[in-house]
Each structure stands twice: as C-alpha cells, then as structure tokens.
C-alpha cells in the first residue's frame, strides 16, 4: 500500500440529516503530527470527528484519505487506517481489558473469524506498551476511568492504524492521569501516526499538539501552529470569555479562564 500522508477535509459541511452543524471546514491531519481541536461546548467537535471517521456522511465538500475519497473505502479497510477512541464509558458486559483490546483486531479478521494467536500477541503488546499489562485479565467494567481510557487507546493501537482520532481523551480523568494519557498519545506521533484529539483545555493543546484548529459555531476560526494560533485574544473570542495568560521566566505560557 502506498504511503498515506494525510486525512484531509475540504470545504466540508457536516451534521445530521435535518440539521447542519458545521460548514466550510477545511482541515488536514498529517502523518506524524498531533492536531488539537479546541472549541466551546456544542461547537460541533464530536460531530466533526464522526464525519472525519466516515460514521456520518458529509453534507458537502470532500474527505480524502491520501489520494482516495474516504467514502470509497470499505468500513473494514477504514478501520485498518483510522482508529477512534471515544470518551470512555463503563460498558454493558464485563469483558476483560484484553478482550476489549482484541476487538480492535476485528477489521483484521474474516466475517466468521475469531482472534488468532497473532491477534492476541498484538493485543498484549499494546497493553504492555501503554504500561497496563497488569490489567489484561481484569473486567473492563471494574477498572478506573483512567485505566479504561488507556485500554481504549490500546484498542485503537491494536487496529494498527495510520491515524488515531480521540474524543476528549482526558474528559473523565484526574489531574495525574491526564498527563499520563496525553504523554502516551503524544508519543505515538514519533512513530509516524497522525493524532487528532479534542480538548476543553487550551493548555493541553499548547503542551501536546503540533498544530491546533479552533472550532466555533461549526466553522474553523483559526488553524495553524500551536504557538501562532493560541493567543489570549483568539481564545477569548472562541469561548466568549475572559482569558488570563501566565508566562514563566523561561517563556512557557499557560492560560487560565478568567
């Protein structure tokens, strides 16, 4: 398979059948970079992610995965190229963590298939890599929110994708786990994966993303290198709220809602 360098949406309009949520969205996720998507509640972030994953058909515009339109790629092949990490949820049945990760291998199995020895070793390797090998046999319903989030990241890695799309990967995590999860996510870009994540925290974008896009009322208000885009004025406009900037003597910046 030829190298797929990016997942790119051009002039995209998206939403649900009777309701357009965003329009004129042009956004590209490149291999080997982390792109953060910031925006207020109800700004259309999750809907945009679902459209980029091909779970919702675009209402206008195009989505290309490398040279090919996303819609022309089968669900199974898509799952081998783009992985989705939803916000973690408790789940209905007490599958073990390793069973959840093995579900990431589904697109590598046949219609009537079941996990092979190779699938199992991939699943265990991904748990190992995220430092949660000890959770393998634990029921997914009984582990903590942070551990669940890491298991879902491991499941996405088990898909062996080129791109990973994460919906608020730190939403349900405590302070310590936020850093842990984000560092793992950032590390993936070093291996050539393209990572797109949404967040409520501009500081996360500042710290872990190479580029950032600001999404307000369904439009991209600004996009580009993190340090260029994330200014006090841009954030104040995006969230319609006051923003305070802290700068350390070394020149590092942090934002506070104010």
């Amino acid at each position: 398979m030829s190298e797929i360098s990016n997942l790119a949406a051009r002039d995209l309009a998206y939403g649900y059948p009777a309701r357009t949520i965003g329009r004129d969205v042009t956004i590209a996720l490149n291999a080997g970079e982390a792109l953060a998507l910031l925006g207020p509640n109800g700004g259309g972030k999750t809907t945009l992610l679902k459209t980029l994953l091909g779970l919702l058909p675009p209402q206008a515009g195009s989505i290309m995965l490398g040279q090919r339109p996303l819609a022309s790629i089968s669900l199974a092949e898509r799952a081998r190229l783009i992985a989705y990490v939803p916000q973690s949820h408790a789940g209905t049945f007490a599958f073990t963590a390793v069973e959840i990760v093995l579900m990431g291998r589904t697109a590598h199995m046949g219609l009537f298939g079941a996990p092979s020895v190779k699938d199992r070793s991939v699943a265990h390797a991904m748990l190992e890599r995220l430092g949660i090998a000890h959770l393998a046999g634990q029921p997914y319903t009984m582990i903590s929110g942070g551990e669940r989030q890491l298991v879902l990241v491991a499941r996405a890695l088990a898909q062996e994708p080129r791109f990973i799309i994460l919906d608020e990967p730190t939403a349900s995590l405590d302070f310590g786990n936020q850093g842990k999860v984000m560092r793992q996510i950032k590390a993936l870009t070093g291996e050539g994966l393209g990572v797109l994540f949404t967040s409520h925290d501009p500081n996360q974008a500042l710290r872990y993303a190479d580029r950032v896009a600001l999404l307000g009322e369904g439009r991209v208000l600004a996009a580009g290198r993190t340090s260029d885009v994330l200014t006090q004025r841009a954030l104040a406009a995006l969230y319609s709220a006051g923003v305070e900037v802290l700068t350390t003597p070394e020149g590092r910046v942090a934002f506070l809602p104010g």
Partner: protein, 343 residues
C-alpha cells in the same frame, strides 16, 4: 490472561460443569416417571440401537424410551437451548441484560398464530406451523417498521416498535380468546400459552431441530462480531463492522430459533432471560464460550423443568409456571452471590 474476577471459573471448567449438568438431567429425565425405567434398561436400550443387536428388554420399555420419553427429552433440550441462545444473542445485541428473546414480538406473534389455529380447529401440525410463521412475520413487521422510521437511536426505535406491536398482537390474542368456545378451545389456548411438551412425538423433532441448528450455527459463526456489536454502534462501525446487515442477521437467526421453540412447546418465559446470566456467570461475556455454555445450560434447565412438570403432580403442570416458580428464587440467589457478574 493473568487473573479472572470473583466467582468466574476458567472457560473449560465452566463448560465441563455445564455438560455434566446436562448429562445428569438427561439420565434423570429418562428414568423418572410413572413407568419404571432403570438406568441399566436405558444403557441396554441405547446400546442395542447403536450396535443393532436386540436388547432383550420388554417392548413397552423400548417404547417408553424411544417413542415417549426420548422425543420429549430431545425437544426439551432443543427448546431450552434455543431460548437460551436467542436470549444471549438479544442481550448482547441490545446491550441490555434485561432483554429476553421475545423482545421483538417473536412470542406474541407465535402465540397469535397458535391461538388462531386452535380457534379454527386446525390440526396440531397446522397450529405449530402457524405459530412458527406467526413469530417470523411479527418480528419481520417490527423490523420493517423500525427500520422505516429514520429517527435517532436505531436500536431504541426497534425496541419501542417491538413493544408497541407486541401489545397489538396481545390485543389480537385477547380478542380470539374472548371469541373462543369457553369449554373446548379456551382451555387449549390457555394450556398452549403456558407452554407444554406433553404431546411431543418423534415427528416433532425434525421441524424443531432444523431451524434451531441453522440459527445456532449462524450465531456461533458470528460469535466474535457479536462481542463487538455489544459496543455502542459508532464504535462498532469504527472498528470495521457493517452494523446494519449484522444486526439483521443476528435478529433473523435468533428469531428462527425462538419461533421454532415456541411452535413446539408454546410460550416458556424466563429461560431466555435468565440462563444467559447463569452462563455469563460461569464463563464470562465472550460469545465464543458464552453461546455454547448458554445452549447446554438452557437445554439442561428446561429438561429438568419438563421432568418435574410430568412427575411431581398427578396432572401435567404448565412449563411456563414451573420455570418461574423454580427460576425466580434461583435468580435472586444468583444476583446475591454474583455481585456484578450479570453485567
């Protein structure tokens, strides 16, 4: 896998336990009853069938084993397995441990078919045929209506459509019962609606075995995908599953086995709701182990119930009543000891 939780036992031990329980239930079912059949009679009769040599047993013993108790044992095991397998599939598909195989109207459709057959004084095969077709038609109608409504959560729409059409069918059953002859037809309808295997003979086995085998094989082949289908729909799609066609296949297979079971034995509640929990308690939620375990446990459970139904009182007790009377305390015990393992 480093560690399993609580009371869950490892896969093969849970499976072995289930098989052992089924074998014990089968032996009890052949031996128990008013006509005495000993364990050695049973072994001799089975051996003579296998080897082709005369068993030397009285013809009446062979008749009881092969023509009376045998078909009933096979039918009870098949019906119990079918209901448990369908319940397991539906609980996974609808991501809800409170779901039973009649969620989409399979039982009400079958019941209306059977009650109509009794009302028009049709023969037993026509009644069973109508029950089978009624179950399939009801679920097909629910599925068609549910899919035609293009709003919101597809699964929720499907479930609500099932509930609504199910109560419409219930009204139809009520109407037929109201119109029926209260001395001949009404008792037959009531008896059928409570479930019974009393009239089972050898010719009933094939129409039951065929659909149950086909549906169960389809579900077993899809075992891994069914695990993934128990995730929220957008996640299952992002993992590469065509959820629409898969849902259709699972509903069709589960409905086939449910309708075959209801046509043969009438409405037997409870098995499809609770046996999947017991199976999950033993081997965990992975369908590759869960489906066979549920089938074996369901078969053994219904066989035990049917054996009690024909032995504990001078008259046959309807199966639907016994499954509830015996199952409810058992389920409450299971809830108390298993903590969260039903989930």
């Amino acid at each position: 896998m480093t560690k399993t939780s609580g009371l869950r036992v490892s896969g093969w031990r849970g499976g072995a336990l289930a098989v052992a329980a089924l074998v014990v239930c089968v032996i009890i079912a052949f031996v128990a009853g008013r006509f005495p059949v000993s364990l050695s009679d049973l072994v001799h009769a089975l051996w003579s069938r296998l080897s082709g040599q005369p068993s030397g047993l009285p013809a009446s013993v062979e008749t009881v084993i092969f023509n009376i108790r045998g078909p009933r044992v096979v039918a009870a095991v098949l019906c119990g397995a079918a209901l448990a397998v369908a319940g397991t599939a539906f609980q996974g598909l609808f991501r809800n441990p409170l779901v039973s195989p009649d969620l989409l109207g399979a039982s009400s459709g079958s019941a209306l078919g059977a009650v109509l057959g009794i009302y028009f004084s049709l023969g037993i095969f026509a009644i069973q045929g109508l029950a089978f077709v009624g179950g399939l038609v009801a679920v097909a109608a629910v599925y068609a209506v549910g899919s035609a409504i293009r709003a919101g959560d597809k699964i929720l729409v499907l479930v609500l459509t099932g509930v609504v059409i199910g109560s419409l069918l219930g009204a139809g059953i009520g109407l037929i019962k109201y119109l029926a002859d209260p001395y001949n037809q009404l008792p037959a309808m009531t008896f059928w609606l409570l479930g019974s295997l009393a009239g089972t003979d050898p010719s009933d086995i094939l129409p039951l075995f065929g659909p149950v085998l086909v549906g169960t094989i389809v579900l077993f082949l899809l075992r891994w995908r069914m695990n993934v289908m128990s995730l929220p729909e957008d996640e299952a799609q992002a993992l590469g599953l065509a959820t629409g066609p898969l849902r259709f296949a699972i509903v069709a297979a589960a409905t086939l086995v449910t309708a075959a079971s209801v046509a043969a034995a009438g409405i037997i509640g409870w098995v499809g709701l609770v046996v999947p929990h017991l199976a999950r308690f033993l081997v965990g939620p992975d369908f590759g182990r869960l489906l066979p375990t549920a089938a074996i446990l369901g078969g053994g459970y219904l066989l035990l119930i049917d054996t009690l139904a024909r032995t504990i009182a001078p008259v046959e007790i309807p199966l639907g009543i016994l499954t509830a009377v015996i199952g409810t305390p058992f389920f409450i015990w299971l809830l108390a000891v298993s903590h969260r393992s039903w989930s």
